[in-house]
């Protein structure tokens, strides 16, 4: 399952965000006497009334220990009970101080973070730099198969901790010595791999049992019934503003249809993750409920394996790019709940361009496709074996790929054979040269273009589609090492231009985030942003 991490900045379209070098100054300026809480709304100092929120979801929890999780469900709960050094506020665009009042760097290789004073865990024990170092070290050393230690690769490889990686000169200072310059390290500090756990309670070599988690977040875990429910209660010793509610129930459903029924019957207040397009369109007119939308960073695409036919022929890939009718897919299959995507770097991220639209036009162009194939002397119809997976990306995948098949076969240019296997077999075969072309999706780990571009287009990409372009690799190195925003955006733009031309991967759609909310529940629109953190502490009920 993908999806998971957020943490990081979403840059509003058209707004240039502060450079990372400048960030240090900004953070330093922001630090003040009061504990920094830069959440979207000004919560004031009133005591929240006795408010209970019930959230229904179809996710499931792998582990509530930061060292053992890399999935949506676990992260969602962990975000409420733990804290990180930096966090991205609701609707915000930069990592901002959380446990740390500042994190500075001069060369993107050594980062120095200063903790606030007087921090404690929910069990009363003090939170010091020792706990910080402990948290990172155990994550790397435990190297759990389900864990996210790979996110910390800049610090140390999984299972190979180096004592020089973190220094703790005093109780409130933490120094990270990265192995190579990494401009996105502050974003990494907002992900689940960077939750801080108490060194006195958590074992250094094993996972903490789920019902005994201790953190420093806005909530404590009051009850955990695996697969059924989680109950959170406001944490009185949290360093920042108290949540707008006192208790949160998270109810787990196996199927979205059950969740939908529960919503309609008033058994839950909020439904978030994950509904089918039909669920959404049918709930749009429902009494007492409303659909709240927010930007999302989830994307879907299909990739060609450049070592297998017919993906080895660029003209074939370009023709495919020209035949895809993204709007039709968005409207017919997804009922308008997704947007056409014209680049592997989605809209809303700095550096995004409509690369595929610029190169091939927005709508399908069967004549252009025929021309391209003809110029390259490719025999039509081109035989294409296209793979997809039935459940991992939702049931609508079946419809989506049936639709894509129809689009590609328009005009007799392609002859598509659709094949599918279940997810685990699929992942084995797809990345080991098993499929000539296959469906895939992506959720960001953190909200920075690097998480998309580098993951897909570098020669070392997990996709293993054998796309190797030296210029692209060089540009990736530039954006990873640079703290100059203009330079990074320039790199992203050029990469998108090149990869649209060569089209090893065809982007299809970008999802919006949706929550279905009972009337009277407030605050949901504040928290829906590309970080994919659902901040319970912003939710309340109006009487």
């Amino acid at each position: 399952m993908e999806g998971v991490w957020r943490g990081g900045a979403v840059k509003r379209k058209g707004r240039v965000a502060a450079a990372f070098a400048v960030m240090a100054l900004v953070l330093a300026a922001c630090s003040s006497d009061e504990p920094g809480d830069t959440d979207g709304t000004d919560t004031g100092t009133a005591e929240p009334a006795d408010v209970t929120i019930i959230h229904g979801t179809t996710d499931s929890i792998v582990s509530l220990d930061p060292a053992g999780q890399y999935d949506f469900g676990s992260n969602q709960i962990s975000q409420q009970v733990y804290s990180t050094l930096l966090e991205v506020p609701a609707g915000g665009s930069l990592p901002e101080p959380a446990l740390a009042e500042s994190c500075e760097t001069e060369d993107s290789t050594v980062y120095t973070c200063t903790l606030q004073d007087g921090l404690t865990f929910s069990d009363g024990s003090p939170l010091t730099s020792e706990d910080v170092a402990f948290s990172f070290q155990r994550n790397i050393e435990i190297d759990d198969p389900q864990g996210a230690c790979s996110l910390l690769a800049s610090l140390a490889a999984c299972g190979k901790w180096k004592d020089s990686a973190i220094e703790t000169p005093d109780d409130t200072t933490v120094v990270f010595n990265l192995q190579a310059p990494n401009a996105v390290w502050p974003s990494v500090l907002t992900t689940s791999a960077a939750f801080i756990v108490p060194s006195e309670v958590y074992p250094a070599d094993a996972l903490q049992p789920d019902d005994q988690v201790v953190g420093s977040g806005r909530y404590t875990l009051a009850e955990y019934r695996p697969g059924e429910q989680v109950v959170l209660e406001a944490n009185p010793s949290f360093y920042g503003d108290a949540p707008l509610n006192t208790r949160v129930f998270v109810q787990y459903f196996k199927q979205s249809s059950a969740l939908k029924l529960a919503l309609e019957q008033g058994e839950v207040d909020i439904g978030w993750r994950t509904f089918t397009p039909t669920d959404v369109s049918s709930l749009e007119g429902a009494e007492g409920l409303s659909v709240v939308e927010g930007p999302g960073g989830e994307i879907r695409y299909f990739a060609f394996n450049l070592n297998l036919e017919p993906g080895d022929e660029p003209a074939v890939r370009q023709a495919a790019a020209m035949l895809i009718d993204r709007q039709a897919i968005a409207d017919n299959v997804y009922e308008g709940t997704v947007d056409p995507l014209y680049s592997m770097l989605p809209a809303g991220f700095a550096g995004h361009t409509e690369a595929f639209a610029e190169r091939y036009g927005e709508g399908p162009d069967p004549d252009g496709a025929a021309q391209v194939l003809d110029d390259a002397s490719v025999q039509t119809p081109v035989e294409l074996e296209l793979w997809w997976t039935p459940t991992h990306y939702g049931d609508a995948s079946a419809d989506e790929y049936a639709e894509i098949k129809r689009q590609l076969e328009e005009g007799g240019l392609f002859s598509v054979t659709l094949e599918s296997t279940e997810w685990d077999q699929y992942t084995e075969d797809a990345f080991t040269d098993g499929y000539p072309a296959y469906q895939l999706g992506w959720f960001p780990d953190y909200v920075d273009g690097d998480n998309y571009i580098a993951s897909f287009y570098s020669s070392a990409s997990f996709l293993n589609i054998h796309y190797e372009n030296q210029e692209v690799d060089d540009l990736i190195a530039v954006e990873q090492g640079s703290t100059d925003d203009a330079e990074r955006e320039g790199s992203f733009q050029r990469i998108q231009e090149i990869t649209a031309e060569e089209a090893p991967i065809i982007p299809i759609w970008q999802g919006t985030q949706l929550a279905i909310v009972r009337d009277g529940v407030t605050g949901v629109e504040d928290t829906l942003d590309p970080t994919y953190i659902f901040r319970y502490w912003l939710i309340s009920k109006s009487e």
Binding site: S60, Y70, Q146, D424, F462
Partner: protein, 342 residues
């Protein structure tokens, strides 16, 4: 009587001895099926997220590449000590899964079984007694049609009618969120717990949530019972002693209920036990439909995630229960009917 209990005890021991190879075969079957099935839990969780080398590395570290024989022997050893291990995908001790989710399934299936027996025996007896009349045809037809309707289809219709349109009953879960949180769960059987703690509000809530799933499942199984009870009753009614009773002038009603019925019921006990497998399959589907947190739906989830430790553990436990139930049934039969022992 000494002779009787001696032969009974010997029968019991033989029966248990026979059960062991059966159990072994079941366990081996589960083990093989899970290991031979494509995929592994790590790829299931993180494939498409991490590069292949990283996945391979994690797989090797977790020991999924070890030779099968070694894993098999280790597995057998663990089962012998009732160590069912810890699930891979959510780090829960499998015994916890069995106890907590198993209790949910137990509650559902027990109530369903009661409904099934009541409907089945009730309608089946009527059908058998008034054979070939409208009552018989009606009863048989009902039994056939209700079994022919897949339990998830019935469940879906029930949710539509009673949940959505009429709004009488909740459509998912064992109890509402607050009740689940506040109920003091000692046995994890919510009905029992709410009674023990005198929490009547919780009791009502739990019953409301139990009604639909248990009735749907119970009716479907009841459909099977109707036919079995009817056939058994008919066969019994042909027996000589029944003829004799009739010849003596005993009223038909007394013939059916006093003479035939008790004997017709004996095979029913066997039949109820044999339906256990059917009950579990039905429970899986019911749990999916009603979002019931039972062991069936957990099994499906673990299967999807290729969590072979969890699947093995659950199936092993199910196998143990099945074997135990069948031994118990045979024992009861042998106790009632001495002919069986030899």
């Amino acid at each position: 009587m000494a002779g009787r209990s001696h032969s009974l005890r010997r029968y019991l021991l033989t029966r248990i001895a026979l059960a062991i190879p059966m159990l072994l075969i079941l366990l081996t079957l589960v083990f093989l099926l899970m290991r031979v099935a494509p995929g592994d839990p790590i790829s299931a969780a993180l494939g498409g997220r991490l590069p292949q080398e990283e996945l391979d590395r994690r797989r090797a570290e977790a020991g999924y590449d070890r030779p099968l024989i070694g894993q098999y022997l280790e597995y057998l050893g663990d089962v012998a000590t009732f160590d069912f291990g810890t699930t891979i995908v959510d780090n829960r001790p499998v015994t916890d899964v069995i106890v907590q989710n198993g209790a949910a399934t137990l509650e559902l299936t027990m109530v369903a079984m009661v409904i099934a027996v009541v409907t089945g025996v009730g309608i089946g007896t009527l059908a058998g007694r008034y054979r070939d009349t409208g009552l018989d045809v009606g009863g048989r037809l009902f039994g056939i049609v209700i079994y022919a309707a897949p339990v998830f289809y019935l469940g879906f219709l029930a949710q539509l009618v009673f949940g959505k349109w009429l709004g009488w009953l909740p459509t998912s879960g064992r109890a509402s969120p607050v009740v689940t949180f506040e109920l003091d769960t000692k046995t994890n059987l919510f009905l029992v717990d709410s009674v023990i703690t005198g929490n009547w509000e919780a009791f009502v809530d739990v019953v409301e949530h139990l009604v639909m799933p248990a009735t749907v499942l119970g009716l479907v199984i009841g459909g099977v019972f109707i036919r079995l009870v009817r056939v058994n009753l008919i066969q019994t009614l042909k027996g000589d002693y029944v003829e004799a009773a009739r010849a003596r002038g005993v009223g038909e009603r007394a013939v059916v209920f006093r003479h035939a019925f008790k004997n017709a019921l004996v095979p029913i006990v066997t039949v109820v036990g044999l339906q256990f497998a059917l009950l579990l399959s039905g429970a899986v589907l019911t749990e999916q439909t009603f979002n019931w947190p039972g062991i069936g739906s957990e099994l499906v989830r673990y299967l999807d995630n290729r969590d072979y430790i969890a699947v093995q553990g659950i199936i092993t436990f199910a196998g143990l229960v099945v074997v135990f139930v069948s031994v118990l049934i045979d024992f009861v039969n042998a106790w009632i009917d001495p002919r069986v022992r030899f």
